[in-house]
Symmetry: D2
Subunit: 438 residues, 4 copies
């Protein structure tokens, strides 16, 4: 394939000293690190919507993106959809991206009815299968867009209208079927409008119950049609809603437990959503990991001085390193992956920028992986932490951990203590160590 | 009692037209609203720490508070503690505040050992009992301060030191005993240092487990000594820690479920903590209420343009109204109450300001109660909401709610729909209605 | 006119007890307060873009607005433009709104060239003049949209392209001419893209110089064509840009002084922009006022827990009161006005909501005016403040103010002081007083 | 000197591969980069208050710092002050820090009167001179603390009390004299309480005028006593005040111009203050630089997810690189320097942490300097920027810059343009380039 981006070569690894903009300096797909290839560790995925559908609009301006290959399309929406898909596969091939993710309406026009939308999706799935076979590229996850159409103005599963709930269910049913057909390894629920604008008009309790009902029905159906992948919820605290019910990892975990859904869903963590919720990316990853719920990652970055989801390509090495540290700690992200839920800036409007953006992100994460692997190999932080908590291995500490202690036994012990000797937390020194590996 | 604040009269209700600064314009304790007296609805409480112990320090300056009655104390810390307590009871009496809340170290000097602290607490409890009997003032809740002493620098229940865990346990044991002795109606856990400064040195998983162990041990002991009140966790997202484990209501509920503690703890919601977590006060109250976990309230307000806990006296009528709306919806806040976890500004340093601050907050909430009661009586929002969600009462909506629907049955229904008719959410109009009642 | 909104009556004042949604409860246009009618005080204006052009899109969804009158338009953009304008005048008449504001591209289609745009604008100005004559409605301010078209992706006056600078100049030239033709009382510059996305690609210094050059050229031309109104800059800190050069009032005042433009421009203050910059609305108004630069007001409100410009109709009585307090202190806002730079929520999608939104805002500000007038009449805060600073009227204080003091004379005085006696700032009490008037 | 920190060696450069915690890996004082030694470029300074006076208190807890050398002091405050100063010089020597900064009350006890404070300061200045001579360490800047004492509760220069204004003037007079005596190269004004808590009790206009009067008097006196260094204002937006008048660089520049002070003051930019104001550190530095007002730097870092001044040691390489880029662009920071206005975390309480914290910061900035120098040498961003704005070198662009253009001439040009060709801003690629150098 060399049709839609004729001036762009296949991007390959040239090492850190290369000054070729269209090369990787850190991502070497087949290089083995800690027993796995970089490709296996990172499981990069292209986000269909940002890369193929987004035009560079923002709330104050029209699209800026220059996509010459789209001009060849007549006004037929299906023809345009196919051109986009073919362009997407060329881009993934040239970037050596092994996975993609999509919403139903990213790949096919919605048409005038559910039935027409369904037919369009099937036709596009035919092409997708053909291109997937040709290229070996796979589907990381599918999903349904339950937030862009005006019918979802008051939510989808949490709409005040039962018809809207039903319509959303129909979309998810089809999207699950498509995901199964295309052998998708995960299915994601991002509840963009599942929240409220004002509590003054909201039945908070019913909406939460309905959200749980919806997820439960979807999980039942996924089981029924033999979906073996992960079902994932993607937390975000707000935007477009004033409050989104899937606010953050801790909140979603509580929600799942309340409704008995905790075994059926894991989480898809996005960096920018984490920071909008007031958490670091690492915090959300770690919180999911220690609760056995880290399913997949939306790899992007936000701007902490801006209050909206900027979805930038991830280039901050601190963030990619700490992310990969969490991934390595849980033994890998599979069957999830690192999906670039990232868009080129509105001012980066050329086709070349689509490649430069992905290279920025892929090299950013490849470097993070290399650093994280070294930190783990050298036990840089692990040893410090192990030593720090050693008092829980023996004596009174062990009695706490093994459940033998009572408030009374602990109080007796406390009365025997003179002064308690504490060690410094050494934060500054640990930050120096992190810098040493960057 | 008229000794410590000789120039301040008993504050009484004079109605909205009074211009007497030392009078209530909205709080009329024995006036009946929706079948209960205002006093019963509001259950006001004085926060011992802010009102009696705080001196007006901030991170950039020394104390400013002028408290002439403290000058009569010699250098004996117990004598000073007793003066403060007597002053506090005079203040509560004059303000008609029926409850108070305290941390162990607010009421008694810590001395040089746990044993000495314990003796000091017992001696102060003698005086408290005497004053409580004399005045009829009761204990809303007790707690232990597990964050101010240097030993808690790395946390208490989540310290890396087992000795610190034990020490904290001893403090909680004593504080529970004191609470029982003083017939406290609740006991609160605010985990001020239960969190982390950096994940680089933190065993996140062990710390969360230990927090659960600690709470479980405390609940066991409370049962054992016959405590019949509510055990409450108070969420806060950060400050002093970079991340506090009890981040917000949703997160705490998830934590409690994970560790099987959900039946044993309810929540104490603070306005300023809500907004620091990115939520409205009403959101946190409502989230607790619909999960049957709204136990008590720390009544203050923050400044949303400032990033720290300002703990201001609550004077914003919108906030007090929406709070009381949630309280009325759950049929009252008892056995919890409205504790003024609020401090006079550093520039409000006279004894008079202690009264003017409480009057500001009490009238603020009294007015909120009056407005909320009218909103409920007139079903201003309830009718709108009921009508808005009526599609879940019948047909496909009912099948969703009663569990008969499947993704397939919903999809069949969706395929029969032409265009879905939606109603406006009418947010602007509902805000106008709210204003009509203010 | 009763054509586009057939079911909506002329909105009239019915007093605070009215429960008619389509009536004013506080805005009584001809009622005299402090010597002027409410209409003269408030000088309300409709924002053409939000009310007539916005469709309810957001970054995650398509338009939801139902505007039946637009369906009668063929596909001819000029016909649609005229329908919108006629609908706008009907709406203003029915709402008794005496002013409107517009961007060039709000009122006329841009066509395929500057020349065509210019012709379209002239044709629309003919209609505007006709409708203005018919209704007596006037133009508060005009402006040019220099941010929506892709050519402005890198800024307008601060673009890296001189051609773009020139194009923007051409647009402003025409917009100024239109404003003069329509007897607009002000002209506004909101530099939506005058800022940067990243300093890595930005010539910061040249861009600021060019912004000043642009404003200077525009002011020269305004003078030349006999514009007698106010030229206004509207600060905003960010969004869509990462940093907007007109960040806040203080920054803009500094910019104007640096480039010798301070006599030629005043400021248009928007509530939501103030809070995005970390300031209260009152702060920005007061800062402009005391610098003799408060020119006009964009009357809306934001959500302080959200990080983007929500442009809500202003219903918070505290905010409207404190705004009107500043307006009254400077003797009125004329020739500026209160422009509702506010949009109905995406869920408020019916034509009725356009009216309910404006009623919410107009009553919100009318109530604010009534309260502010009472606060001024009763000298509630003025007396307190005057007394608070009285030490600067005499003695050492007078010597400071009149310029006689030196560091040495002050030091001599300081050495004579024993303890300095300070008065409480009484913040809580002053908040109680404010509440008494609300 | 090897008395107060007996176990700590002189810290020396061992290169990036060293794993010795008590060594520099990047800071090699005498290594020449771009024609100057690293020492000359970086001009590191110790902040007396954080390093010698801070005890690790925070609003929720007591001090944690372990400083064994202080235990040798009797209860005599002067003796303690001298021990601290000697310890500080040992620390600076061992860390090879060539400068220090102090507030008056950091170095000497305030005593019971201005006269006593003055005598204490003189006595401490004797010791400082002795130690400075001995070690070659110099004073980067002095200042007066006008925010910690209760008399400054309502501000210093902006207090409502003229006596307080005078008292502050006396303190500044003495601090200026001390700075001159100790050959300080700068004098800093941080107006910690120069702001307001609520506008309800504030004469905003008088306070700003008084602030200008104060600064003007101080500058006059500095001239009079022959101070040849820089006078610097340090912006901060808030904390402890709700609003600080010196909000950010742009605001301060405007203030200085308004009062005719712009030639007399430059700025001291702090990283954490920048981000609290909603700006990047680089933004504030660049804004100061292009206005010829970048005087000195407070080198620390904040946590963008926390809303208060955390004053952490600067370890983020992106931030230190972009800072040094601005410093190199203006040809160096002298006579200013990089003052570590940074404190060890409360959990980093050992004397060793004082060293590890400074090493973290010094190596952080040394690495930033190395990277920035390479970026400049290789013209990584400069070439891109120069090319990007080349249209202002010729033709219509040149006419804009040289002042020949008018709105009319530009409009004529614009009408001749077909489509304007724009280049991509290439943000992602530029971020990749930045990463290549890190």
């Amino acid at each position: 394939m060399d049709y839609f981006f004729p001036n762009i070569p296949v991007i390959s690894y040239e090492g850190p000293n290369s000054r070729n903009p269209f090369a990787f300096r850190f991502y070497n797909p087949d290089e083995v690190i800690l027993g796995k290839t970089m490709k296996e560790h990172l499981r990069f995925s292209m986000a269909y919507w940002h890369t193929l559908c987004a035009t560079g609009t923002d709330p104050f301006g029209r699209g800026t993106a220059i996509r010459p290959y789209e001009e060849s399309a007549s006004n037929d929406p299906m023809e345009l959809a196919k051109i986009k898909m073919r362009a997407g596969f060329e881009l993934m091939q040239k970037l050596q991206i092994p996975y993609f993710c999509f919403h139903d309406c990213d790949v096919a026009p919605e048409g005038n009815s559910l039935a027409e939308f369904s037919r369009n999706l099937d036709e596009m799935a035919d092409l997708a299968e053909e291109l997937m076979t040709q290229t070996g590229i796979k589907l990381l996850w599918g999903t349904a867009n339950l937030f862009s159409h005006p019918r979802y103005v008051h939510g989808a599963a949490t709409s005040c209208s039962a018809d809207v709930f039903a319509y959303a269910a129909a979309q998810v049913k089809k999207a699950l079927e498509l995901t199964v057909r295309l052998k998708g390894e995960n299915y994601v629920f991002w509840g963009g409008r599942e929240g409220y604008e004002t509590l003054l008009n909201t039945d908070f309790s019913l909406e939460l119950d309905n959200l749980a009902r919806f997820l439960s029905l979807a999980a039942d159906y996924a089981d029924k049609i033999g979906f073996k992948g992960q079902l994932l919820i993607e937390p975000k605290p707000k935007e477009p809603t004033k409050h989104q019910y899937d606010f953050d990892v801790a909140g979603v975990l509580g929600f799942l437990q309340k409704y008995g859904l905790e075994g059926r869903f894991k989480l898809n963590i996005e960096a920018n959503h984490a920071t909008l919720a007031g958490h670091t990316f690492q915090h959300e990853l770690a919180m999911a990991r220690i609760n056995n719920a880290l399913g997949s990652i939306d790899a992007n970055q936000g701007d902490l001085l801006l209050g909206w989801d900027t979805d930038q390509f991830p280039t901050n090495i601190y963030e990619t390193t700490l992310c990969m540290l969490e991934v390595l700690k849980q033994g890998g992200i599979a069957p999830g992956g690192l999906n670039f839920d990232a868009k080129v800036r509105r001012g980066s409007f050329t086709p070349e920028d689509l490649f430069l953006g992905h290279i920025a992100g892929m090299d950013g994460f490849a470097r993070g992986l290399r650093i994280a692997a070294a930190l783990i190999t050298d036990k840089v932080f692990d040893e410090f932490i192990e030593k720090r908590y050693q008092s829980f291995q023996i004596g009174i500490g062990a009695s706490i951990v093994n459940g033998e202690a009572t408030l009374e036994s602990l109080a007796v012990h406390a009365h025997t203590l003179d002064e308690i000797k504490l060690e410094s937390g050494r934060q500054e020194y640990l930050e120096t160590l992190l810098n040493l590996y960057i």
